[in-house]
Symmetry: C2
């Protein structure tokens, strides 16, 4: 899917909602457990109920992988079922040396190899360029690179101040005057040499104005995938106000608050109600901030 196609879908649905399919066999309504593939059946009903309000779906790969081969079967059926106009994200946080990342790319992008055909995959930046480039070799597919995450451990490394060794204590600019950046900012800057906003997005767990403004300065054109709004307490309005660009530039994910809004037989219907609420809020922000 191209950036333009994604934007058109956003415009058409008046939504930039991504529904996170963190589907846990322990959390789905018990009446589904009699189905042959309860995980897929849950996803199928959630997708049917929410596709009108969502532009993207994001299966969290860990939930499927934890069930071994069977889980990969459910994942495959799910990704085949998602309507083609919706953007699909394999939330996998992969990243390895070049030839291994090439195999991870095959996993998520090459249907003939793995049975999966996602539009995008989330990638961890720690191993650098050659851990990311193989995903970009698949035409029309996207990398969503981890930049700033909102978990408690995100602070451990992502907010460290960094600079190149070349401009370190031995250079004349070193006495506190060289340009300092956070690691996550450096990740955004460096990775822009690898792909532009037509092929790369960033995971940005920020809901604070100052960080969103800074990120928009560094990456004005890129789509940002924002997790953690809703259940985890981030404000959708703040994210929209400070994160939106002229082509929306946001995919805001909600998982639990939608898919587990009810644990009864009406789960899909309630999920639709919750997704619609978010969509209506988004429609308002698209008018104000875009």
């Amino acid at each position: 899917m191209t950036k333009q196609q994604l934007f058109e879908q956003i415009t058409q649905k008046n939504s930039y909602l991504c529904v996170g399919l963190d589907t846990d066999i322990k959390k789905i309504p018990s009446h589904l457990l009699k189905e042959k593939d309860p995980i897929f059946e849950f996803n199928r009903q959630i997708i049917d109920a929410t596709a009108e309000f969502a532009v993207a779906y994001k299966p969290n790969i860990a939930f499927y992988e934890a069930l071994g081969a069977k889980g990969w079967g459910s994942l495959q059926r799910t990704i085949e079922y998602i309507p083609k106009e919706c953007f699909t994200i394999a939330d996998a946080k992969r990243g390895d040396i070049g030839n291994t990342s090439g195999l991870y790319a095959r996993t998520f992008f090459d249907k003939s190899s793995s049975g999966l055909d996602f539009d995008s995959v989330t990638v961890a930046p720690y191993m650098g360029s050659d851990s990311v480039m193989p995903f970009l070799e698949f035409e029309g597919k996207w990398v969503i690179l981890l930049a700033l995450t909102s978990n408690t451990g995100g602070d451990d490394f992502q907010n460290l101040q960094v600079h190149n060794a070349q401009s370190s204590v031995h250079s004349p600019q070193s006495s506190g005057h060289y340009s300092e950046k956070s690691l996550y900012e450096q990740v955004i800057l460096t990775s822009q040499k690898w792909a532009d906003s037509e092929r790369m997005m960033y995971v940005v767990g920020a809901t604070k104005a100052d960080k969103l403004l800074k990120i928009r300065e560094l990456a004005p054109e890129h789509f940002l995938l924002v997790p953690g709004v809703g259940a985890q307490g981030g404000s959708l309005e703040e994210v929209s106000k400070y994160g939106m660009n002229q082509q929306c530039g946001l995919l805001v994910n909600s998982s639990r608050a939608i898919i587990y809004a009810s644990s009864n037989e009406d789960f899909a219907q309630i999920a639709a109600t919750e997704a619609k609420k978010v969509q209506q809020e988004m429609e308002k922000y698209l008018q104000i901030y875009s």
Copy 2:
């Protein structure tokens, strides 16, 4: 497996060789393709031929995952087949927010969930403490944290000089005198708050004396998993000389140079010959440097 048990096996086999099971359906001898599960059949014969010389096996998860559900089946059969005295490493480079990392931990450690029961998993540090801790909740299981990788992209971020924002340009210590570290050194330092050398190892792609010495200063007691010796040109002697500690403290991986040493029907026999060569060199270094 405990650190002591691993060390005992090293002493018994006079080896710290880890055989990387980067098993590629496109590279295995063609006569195996008639088998029901060619990937597992290849691994089975490699394991039979090399278990005498190797203390650890490291399936590279990407190779299995790229084949979808079928690949997970081959992986499951492989891990079940590896002799119990050998240390097993899921080279998966996972890492996500707490509850998701918990599911990745289940994937590799909880046989009742996924069918897999590895001793350890490689984890990416970018998302910090809560992305790593869930793996440590499984008693007796290990985290092998990415510190310094030897791929070309490793330089992009791992060697950046870092310091905490608190000691930045606004503090009196900021005029070039605060203690500077590379990101990978900071990863080693910070992560020692999460687990000690009984539960954590580091991936260290270094073969240069200066870096190995520095890492040993930061983590004298930890095992280091060193990939890329052999085919990728690192020197086993350098690694052993500068990386070994009193309990060996090294697992040195070799994948292609052993498993693909021959592409004919004699592949397992030739793999044994190559593994034995490495083991004999290791035996020598254990005497000299340990």
